[in-house]
Symmetry: none
Subunit: 194 residues, 4 copies
């Protein structure tokens, strides 16, 4: 989840890190190339060595890190084999993503619809991961056959991502990772029954 700034002698990681921070602070549209270049301590033209436009930069950051996060979520969830354990894994994935790189976590989870729509349709998103986990729980009879998985997925993703935002705004205190067990238990109760 962390953009590697040490590699080689290219300026790209510095650009990406600076861009993510500014995109989260002010939004993609309100962040200027000048802002990014200054924050990354590179010239404005340097950005165009790596991307054809500001939008491409935003899309690339979003796409790569969203893919990484989806895989991370999936791995964390699948460390356990029962639904409650998996839900705790999901909660933990959100928590760890946030504690590792707050800006990046917020960027991928709260990117504007307009940016999301430019991603490839085939991309595996967090909601797909959650949906699959739930489907397997139905197959394992951990959830009733008629459960509205789309609704449940929305509630789970909403809970986890909003918690992250609440933490960022100071509404909740403490390390999110410490809250994962409780959040997992609560999500388990949320999904059970009808």
């Amino acid at each position: 989840m962390i953009i590697d700034e040490s590699k080689q002698d290219t300026k790209l990681p510095a650009i990406m890190n600076a861009a993510v921070r500014l995109f989260v602070e002010s939004g993609v549209a309100s962040t200027t190339i000048r802002d990014i270049a200054k924050a990354a301590k590179v010239a404005e033209g340097t950005l165009y060595r790596h991307y054809d436009s500001k939008e491409e930069l935003a899309r690339d950051i979003l796409q790569k890190n969203l893919a990484t996060f989806s895989e991370f979520m999936e791995r964390k969830a699948r460390e356990k084999s029962t639904l409650p354990g998996r839900l705790e894994g999901l909660a933990r994935a959100f928590a760890e993503a946030y504690e590792e790189n707050q800006d990046l976590a917020r960027f991928i989870l709260f990117s504007h619809a307009a940016e999301m729509e430019r991603l490839p349709k085939s991309m595996r998103l967090p909601r797909h991961v959650v949906h699959d986990i739930l489907k397997e729980a139905v197959a394992a009879r951990e959830l009733p056959a008629g459960a509205d998985l789309d609704l449940l997925q929305a509630l789970i993703i909403g809970s986890c991502s909003r918690l992250l935002l609440a933490k960022a705004y100071g509404e909740v205190k403490g390390d999110l990772r410490d809250k994962a067990p409780e959040v997992g238990r609560r999500l388990a109760r949320l999904v059970e029954g009808k």
Copy 2:
């Protein structure tokens, strides 16, 4: 929750409705005055009869409608006196807001941090309403004394608002109002215990 377009012969409601739609589609920063004027079928200068800037327009729409929504939520929740009934009321408030004016509901619930921060600090927001409802539930011993209300508030708001987004994206089908009872039951299980 609906912007009144009938009143007087001012062009303001047309401007606001057009603006909300465009703000949700592309974000405030990417929506131009020209876009709004064209969609509202007024001249570009007309907007400045009512607001000093595009940002003021966005803030006014957000502030007025967020206040209206918070009150609406509170009223809906307080129609019942027990926590499960109140949580269903909250879920219903989100559902009704969405079904009445989708764009407006999305705008107030997913406005970017930068826009939120320009609101008066004293404003009563949805999370305050939820927090108060939960606090009263603790007082009524419907929730344990040590419950982390800030965490619960985030989970509830996240669930309800993400459900609305899922509906807007076509991830969930059907009228959200019909799902309010189920969502209420699930939220009731979510908040209970530890």
Copy 3:
């Protein structure tokens, strides 16, 4: 052939006159929007009220004035009914165009190939006018049946336009209109026979 600067209260004629002068001095590519705006005493943005781009401005000036010049040439040539008279008419058309608006005349006659190619294929150009005049002369037995009209047209256009350039560079002195009779006579001798 003269761009009208008096009409209405639009800034367009001022922009066009300034643009033509600068385009001739430095070429379209080397003339900046800022240069044009400054010379026309308007703001840079004003140009975009009338055209979508600098290239569109250049194309519009070229197209409109080339069409006007072609018609002017044709009218001047057809004032007489014999070939020598018509060739003198052509020479006079070039001379008058130059003496009326030197910049404009040079712009339309020496625009770069890249600009010419963006004009509609159907446009009636000076070479078409000359070609038609020559064809009628063949029909009237003023020229031999087998004359290579494409070659003759090139020689005539080349002579007339290069004379104009020579005048602009100070290689030839005096009013070009006074030279039209001699040029006409010489062109008449040029085209006769084989």
Copy 4:
């Protein structure tokens, strides 16, 4: 007239050939260093081993080849001793220059005024060659004493160079060298008398 690409192992001839082609296609100002480097298959920086700037490259190509062409014209013209023969020689010089290297011929004959003005004032240009030829014809009583040689020179240069352009645009067909005798005869009639 041909840029030598075989010599040594320097990349210069490849650069010059690529540059001429691009300069003719799009103009000097619209041709980028990157375009040239890519077309010549060298790195962008390589150009600066040979020239201090793009303009210097353009000027050098223009100057060297214009000098070569002027000498070539002169030699071709002076192969004959009478005016008609010399005019045919001029026509042939243009034709051969074109058929040998179309891009280069167009570049030197239709370079923009701005580029021409950067050449040394003392340079012997095609128009000087033509003027001298005509002056000698006056001395030899092949032309009347009062003939306006500046005007005649412009007509001759204009005819010959426009013919070349007409060929490049497909307006005239066939090998230009085959047309030199006819063009020579016509120019001879053009210059005679008053």
